[in-house]
């Protein structure tokens, strides 16, 4: 392939453009995954307690894949401009490895998202909220973190339980084992609070009088951020992989036509 040929230049330009896009997408992927890993809504303890926090693992992989994609795109641009077989061979090998990791990250995020059903969080809440059993350190820590997370969620987001306050009545729970039903039909965090975070009317809240307790469930507030996290990692990663697939095939063709 004569290097001076205009069609070759055009093809080189296309491949360089493809690698520039890969580099920019890599940076964007890194930024997006850092945002998810930083857990802005402080919901990670709920996932950790379910032993089902693979979407965070997928996000961590996404951070490093993004950086690698940026670095490799620079390598690819240099290799294409110099028409160097050795540089492009290194580029291919490293790209395959990064590609495989990103495939794993995308599939993991897409699959794990399907675990986020209401029953998952409901069962965890009923088993762990205010559970003071001393089985082992891991359970003690998880129970404490789940309790803190739910207390904060119900207080600040003005919601109660997963589906509503009836969750605490319809099912047996660790909360019910330590709290009298008449005094605590549901946690007092479900009550409408005044400016000092005290229940507006505790008796009305305990009796379920409309306007004195939060009837809305918290599931949407938990699943919303988690679904956006999982979808972002999975489908943005998929989009990058589709583009990278095309660029890699083009670069392989270019490499096969380079003269020794």
């Amino acid at each position: 392939m004569a290097k001076g040929d205009s069609s070759v230049r055009c093809f080189q330009g296309l491949l360089i453009f493809g690698n520039v896009i890969i580099g920019m997408c890599g940076i964007a992927l890194t930024a997006e995954c850092i945002f998810f890993v930083s857990d802005q809504h402080s919901l990670y303890p709920l996932l950790e307690a379910t032993d089902n926090d693979d979407i965070y693992g997928a996000a961590w992989i996404g951070i490093f894949v993004g950086i690698c994609l940026f670095c490799l795109s620079v390598l690819g641009i240099v290799g294409i401009m110099k028409s160097s077989r050795k540089i492009l061979l290194v580029y291919f090998i490293l790209m395959f490895i990064v590609y495989a990791f990103e495939v794993a990250s995308s599939i993991t995020a897409a699959v794990q998202r399907d675990f986020f059903t209401t029953n998952l969080f409901l069962r965890q809440m009923l088993e762990r909220y205010q559970n003071k059993s001393q089985s082992n350190n891991d359970d003690i820590w998880k129970n404490r973190e789940v309790t803190k997370t739910w207390d904060r969620l119900m207080l600040l987001e003005k919601c109660c339980g997963v589906n509503g306050p009836s969750d605490w009545q319809k099912y047996k729970s660790a909360f019910r084992d330590v709290n009298n039903d008449a005094d605590y039909p549901w946690p007092h965090q479900c009550c409408v609070m005044d400016t000092l975070y005290k229940p507006l009317n505790l008796d009305a809240c305990k009796l379920g009088v409309s306007g004195y307790y939060h009837s809305k469930g918290c599931y949407e507030l938990i699943s919303g951020p988690m679904n956006r996290h999982a979808w972002g990692v999975a489908w943005f990663g998929f989009a990058i992989l589709c583009w990278t697939f095309c660029v890699l095939l083009g670069t392989m063709f270019y490499w096969s036509r380079i003269e020794y």
Binding site: Y99, I107, A110, V111, R113, K170, N201, L241
Partner: protein, 178 residues
């Protein structure tokens, strides 16, 4: 016979003194209510100060528990929640209901009143009320919500990976032949 007449008269008077009033479920509350308690409306205002006996028994039993209390005074209407004072930055409310606690979840009960005020005795109708059934946590299924996206992404990315490997082998072969 003469000594019987005053006794008979007394019995008739007592019989005329017994009256009935209605109680019903309370609206405006979370419904179905609670698993171990429920709220019963208080007797009407004209029985204020009377000694009320609330009888609660399971529908499949003949005897139950009784709860005794003094019928509280009415302030205006006998509503569940009454605003007693409202002004400035706070409101004082008053709740008028009797909460029966320590019940069994998922059970039906018959509830009725008998109120004694002076020489009069008034009874209420018998109302059937139930507590919410309570399930075990283990009955909650944890199945995944399987969506098509999971299948699509897995298939497409696996095929893409395979095609890339094949393409690399072909590129190697073409390059070597040159």
């Amino acid at each position: 016979m003469a000594f019987l007449t005053p006794t008979l008269l007394l019995l008739v008077l007592l019989d005329l003194g017994a009256a009935e009033f209605n109680i019903s479920s309370i609206s405006g509350l979370l419904s179905p209510a609670l698993a171990e308690s429920f709220l019963v409306a208080l007797p009407p205002c004209h029985l204020t100060g009377g000694k009320a006996t609330l009888t609660v028994r399971r529908t499949n039993e003949s005897t139950g528990l009784t709860h005794n209390f003094m019928v509280p005074p009415c302030r205006g209407q006998r509503d569940l929640v009454n605003v007693v004072y409202s002004g400035g930055s706070f409101t004082v409310t008053r709740l008028d209901a009797y909460q029966v606690t320590n019940l069994v979840p998922g059970t039906s009960y018959y509830v009725s009143y008998s109120v004694v005020k002076g020489n009069a005795v008034e009874s209420s109708n018998r109302v059937q009320m139930a507590t919410l059934p309570r399930r075990k946590v283990e009955t909650l299924g944890l199945g995944m919500a399987r969506t098509g996206g999971m299948i699509v992404i897995t298939v497409l990315l696996s095929v893409a990976m395979f095609l890339l490997v094949v393409g690399f082998i072909v590129a190697l072969a073409l390059g070597a032949r040159k």
